[in-house]
């Protein structure tokens, strides 16, 4: 459980995923990737931590990930094998609404 600020860069402890925090609710929140807590700039991974097969759907470069309330938003700046979650609940991709052709 940690508090995060927008603009902070976090990395996965178990895969190559990196995210930038775009928006985050106030207070403590448990952010994870591949089942392991996301690490901040100076953090090191706990010994023996491995990718949880139940959280291995992967992350996609450039996608924005959000929670149910929409108050949390992370941008994936490096993809990886793990999937992102907040308090154990998987985050979902938030896509910009497609617009039609302007021609």
């Amino acid at each position: 459980m940690s508090q995060y600020k927008p603009g902070v860069r976090l990395r996965s402890a178990v895969c190559t995923t990196e995210v930038v925090v775009i928006a985050v609710p106030a207070g403590n929140i448990a952010l994870s990737c591949g089942g392991a807590p996301l690490l901040g700039e100076g953090d090191t991974a706990a010994a023996g931590v491995v990718l949880d097969a139940a959280a291995a759907q992967g992350t996609l470069l450039g996608k924005r990930y959000t929670n149910e309330t929409g108050k949390l938003e992370l941008l994936c700046v490096k993809p990886g094998a793990g999937s992102l979650a907040a308090a154990g609940v998987a985050l979902v991709v938030k896509s910009a609404k497609p617009l039609p052709s302007s021609d």
Binding site: V20, L61, G62, L75, V77, K78, P79, A96, P98, L99, P100, S101, S102, D103
Partner: protein, 352 residues
């Protein structure tokens, strides 16, 4: 079937060759306020052919500057035959050609779509004097004006008649591929079966990829290339004429302005071109700080043939590289230029 055919609308427009005017003749015509009124797509002349042979003795005079100022207001292209060196006169010249014969290719296109030709040169004059952001805004409005015009309406009928189903079905995966290699972002236009025609899905995906570049400052730069046989053949013709109205079209462009993002990020952008770079296929790359091209690359702005003008930021990005008059030459002639010519002009930075 030709893509465009000229049908006189409400106004009978001039279709023949208007004789050249010398600077002295223009000075004489300017003695009355209505002397040049016939130079309009709605009146006698769709363009003004300028014979600059007598310009040299007038260089540096107020008279020459006054002529240029008057010409810059004309609602039609001003085509100078011969090289114009006096900066004051250049203000009033939209495009330069070496000979009357060379002008003929431009005149054919201008006579088919005189409203598009007028709007194009007016926009390029405007964009020369404003910020790039203001230029992009003006371009979208100018484009909207032509989208709603009689010339594009004629073309659209033909486009509807020849419309084929989108080729996208043969292409799989995302319209744009984005890959991170260290501190570089590699962006690949990925509609090879459609020769990377710039469609709405590609625009949205490119917009998102550029937003990633903008947000992540650890990305030193992005390299943009095209999958398949060519870089990009320009706007997807299967989408032309699909927008419900021209004010919505403008709103769409303003809401997903790839040009605006390219402008902001230009110092971190490299484009790698090969084969066809048509319409948006050169308008977007021209924003980049570095543009390299395969020796087989060719470049073309064909919009005049559709009764339109370059509408993907090209009236801002291309003049930044080659100036207003050469941009007008590309856009009015609709001619292909080679990689070698593009390099000579500075439209690209290197042939690889």
């Amino acid at each position: 079937m030709p893509l465009s055919s000229h049908e006189p609308g409400l106004f009978q427009t001039a279709a023949g060759v208007s004789p050249p005017l010398t600077i002295s003749e223009i000075i004489a015509l300017c003695e009355t306020p209505w002397g040049l009124d016939g130079y309009s797509p709605l009146l006698e002349h769709n363009y003004l052919l300028l014979d600059v042979a007598d310009a040299a003795p007038l260089a540096g005079t107020d008279q020459l500057a006054a002529v240029a100022q008057r010409l810059r207001q004309l609602p039609c292209p001003v085509i100078a035959v011969g090289a114009v060196t006096a900066p004051a006169l250049l203000r009033g010249v939209d495009v330069m050609v070496a000979s009357v014969q060379e002008a003929a290719a431009l005149i054919r296109n201008i006579n088919k779509h005189p409203l598009a030709a007028m709007t194009l040169v007016q926009l390029l004059r405007h964009n020369e004097d404003v910020t790039p952001e203001q230029g992009l805004f003006a371009e979208s409005l100018a484009y909207a004006s032509l989208q709603g015009g009689v010339e594009f309406a004629q073309v659209r009928k033909v486009l509807h008649a020849v419309r084929r189903p989108p080729q996208v079905a043969q292409d799989s995966g995302n319209a744009v591929l984005v890959e991170r290699r260290g501190d570089e972002l590699h962006i690949t236009l990925n509609r090879p079966h459609a020769r990377n025609a710039y469609c709405a899905a590609m625009r949205d995906a490119l917009y998102a990829a550029l937003q990633l570049l903008k947000l992540d400052e650890r990305l030193r730069r992005a390299v943009v290339s095209g999958a398949g046989r060519c870089f990009c053949v320009g706007g997807d013709l299967t989408e032309f004429g699909t927008v419900p109205d021209t004010s919505t079209a403008h709103a769409i462009r303003a809401s997903r302005s790839v040009g605006q993002l390219l402008l902001e990020l230009c110092s971190r952008l490299e484009f790698r071109l090969h084969r066809a770079c048509v319409g948006s296929g050169i308008e977007l790359p021209a924003f980049g700080a570095r543009v390299v091209a395969d020796s087989n690359t060719f470049i073309q702005l064909p919009e005049i043939k559709l009764g339109l003008l370059p509408g993907a930021g090209g009236t801002v990005s291309i003049p930044r590289r080659i100036g207003r008059q050469r941009t007008a030459y590309l856009a009015l002639s609709a001619r292909r230029i080679s990689a070698a010519k593009a390099l000579q002009w500075g439209l690209i930075d290197a042939i690889i």
